[in-house]
Symmetry: C2
């Protein structure tokens, strides 16, 4: 049984020991650049934490864990091309620093590298892991497509939005936990419990992101809040406001649009005030708590002594109490 710090250290060490070829440099420099950006490394931590909790050997899980994180970074790289995002974690995106062709191709390479990491484990679990991983990858692509579709789709329901974030975000957290469980060799029922916990955690995680993007404390959050509002992104907050908007729906849609005629500061102030007036921050926090509790309940059902669950529960707790 490992501490949370020991698990984080193991993930860090695994990333430090990734060796990439030197040539062609236009292919591998962007891959190395992307992998060196760091980030929370949440997904690989979930893989080995789940494996450890279920009495598995984390050394059998570390490569698949790295594979899932490489995949996650690949999706961000390609998303940045699609969104024409100039910055990621405060640094120039690959698409901006090099160009979009190089970003496409180095991303493709990362996806192949990810699959190669997935199979560096016990042979008997490989078929199941590869199937789970690539099915999840397809779902993530579906989620990204819905997200892009929603930009031009006027009527987006809250249930469509929740399905989109389930695909775009939650399934990969669920896949991470289930990968650890498969390697630990637990029963399909227990695999499903950790998968379900991952879905609930992912939903809570993304809704928390939505909340922080508008209501985060700038000093702690690390970037100016309000990006979603200024971009006219149809988040849960906005869709809920629309639901409550009654006859104002059309006006709200016009004002919220990315080509809105409002000045940025006015737009930000107006929508924050609207959200607060309609009690939406409280509602989203209730929803986050509901998902958070569901994640805990799934884990509680696992036939594992409570002390073994402590590390994973603490990781989840820290995600929920985060301010950035």
């Amino acid at each position: 049984m490992h501490s949370s710090e020991a698990l984080q250290q193991r993930v860090k060490q695994a990333f430090n020991s990734i060796a990439l070829p030197d040539a062609p440099s236009n292919l591998y420099d962007p891959v190395a650049y992307t992998l060196s950006q760091g980030g929370k490394r949440l997904r690989p931590l979930l893989v080995i934490a789940a494996c450890d909790m279920l009495n598995g050997d984390i050394e059998e899980a570390i490569h698949p864990a790295v594979g899932i994180e490489i995949f996650h970074n690949f999706t961000l790289l390609h998303d940045d091309i699609m969104d024409q995002a100039p910055l990621r974690r405060g640094k120039e995106t690959v698409y901006k620093k090099w160009n979009s062709n190089i970003a496409i191709l180095s991303g493709d390479t990362m996806f192949a590298l990810a699959n190669r990491e997935i199979v560096k484990t016990r042979p008997d679990v490989i078929p199941e892991l590869v199937e789970l991983f690539n099915t999840t990858a397809i779902q993530v692509c579906e989620g990204q497509q819905y997200d892009m579709d929603f930009e031009t789709q006027i009527e987006v329901t809250i249930s469509e939005y929740l399905e989109m974030i389930r695909l775009k975000t939650a399934v990969l957290l669920a896949c991470s936990l289930k990968t650890g469980a498969i390697i630990a060799g637990v029963s399909p029922v227990e695999q499903s419990l950790v998968y379900d916990a991952g879905i609930s955690l992912g939903m809570a995680f993304q809704l928390k992101d939505d909340y922080l993007d508008t209501f985060g404390d700038e000093k702690v959050f690390g970037k100016t809040p309000g990006g979603d509002i200024l971009a006219g992104k149809k988040t849960w907050l906005f869709l809920r406001l629309l639901e409550k908007g009654g006859d104002n729906r059309k006006k709200l849609l016009e004002l919220y649009d990315q080509h809105s005629e409002m000045f940025p500061a006015d737009k930000l102030g107006f929508f924050k005030a609207e959200f607060i007036a309609k009690g939406i921050p409280g509602e989203i926090n209730d929803l986050i708590d509901t998902y958070y509790s569901a994640a805990n309940e799934s884990l509680e059902k696992l036939a594992v002594p409570a002390e073994r669950k402590a590390v994973l529960l603490a990781i989840i707790e820290s995600l929920m109490s985060r301010e950035k």
Copy 2:
């Protein structure tokens, strides 16, 4: 033991029975469109022909065969974005028909679908197949990167060019044959022989493409020859001309450049005449024959009765005598 026609029929049937989800349609319509374009289906044919030759069960190889072809189509889809190519096999490319974001994401989805097909076979061979497939995928990306690098790199040697086409084209044919061999359960030595045959075949195949692009018969070739010359693409023909150009190198580079000041018809006529005057068509055909013979020699060394090799040898022969 199956006939060539039976194997082709099996590949065709496998592609006809691929079932894709309906939604999101902006993701799956481009995938279905791409897979419906057909093409030679050479790679899946090589997978099951190799498996059949080596006494394997082609039903165990058909899904991995489909996976390799889906991957190949994915690379074409992403290449078309990078090359900004409006047409592929006489039809609009995905990038042109939809847009580049949709082309990026549906391509990513195809890569995941491909990996999922690879693991639909006997569990004991899956680890080796996934490793081979993704290592090959990385090499194909490296080849594409070198190809893009060569556009702006003034000095490209023939050996650099041959290494580029080995990566971009040959390794996937080699991977196809080896995949069939692994599923047939033959020894590593025999796997290497078919892999080597695939490399030689791939080199011959790509050089034949280079030759036909300039010297193909328009009526048979199906498109106007000369595309490489007009685009200023550094093919074997041009690099060999440069080698033989002596003091004219600089002038030849200027005239051949994609921003050359020559009229298209003049440029085409000039370079065809230069190639012929320097005996280059004969040289490339000799080189193609050398690779073709090497492919045959690798297959001759296999400890399999000659009659079992007949189908694969006939497929290779038909590729070599093709006029399009």
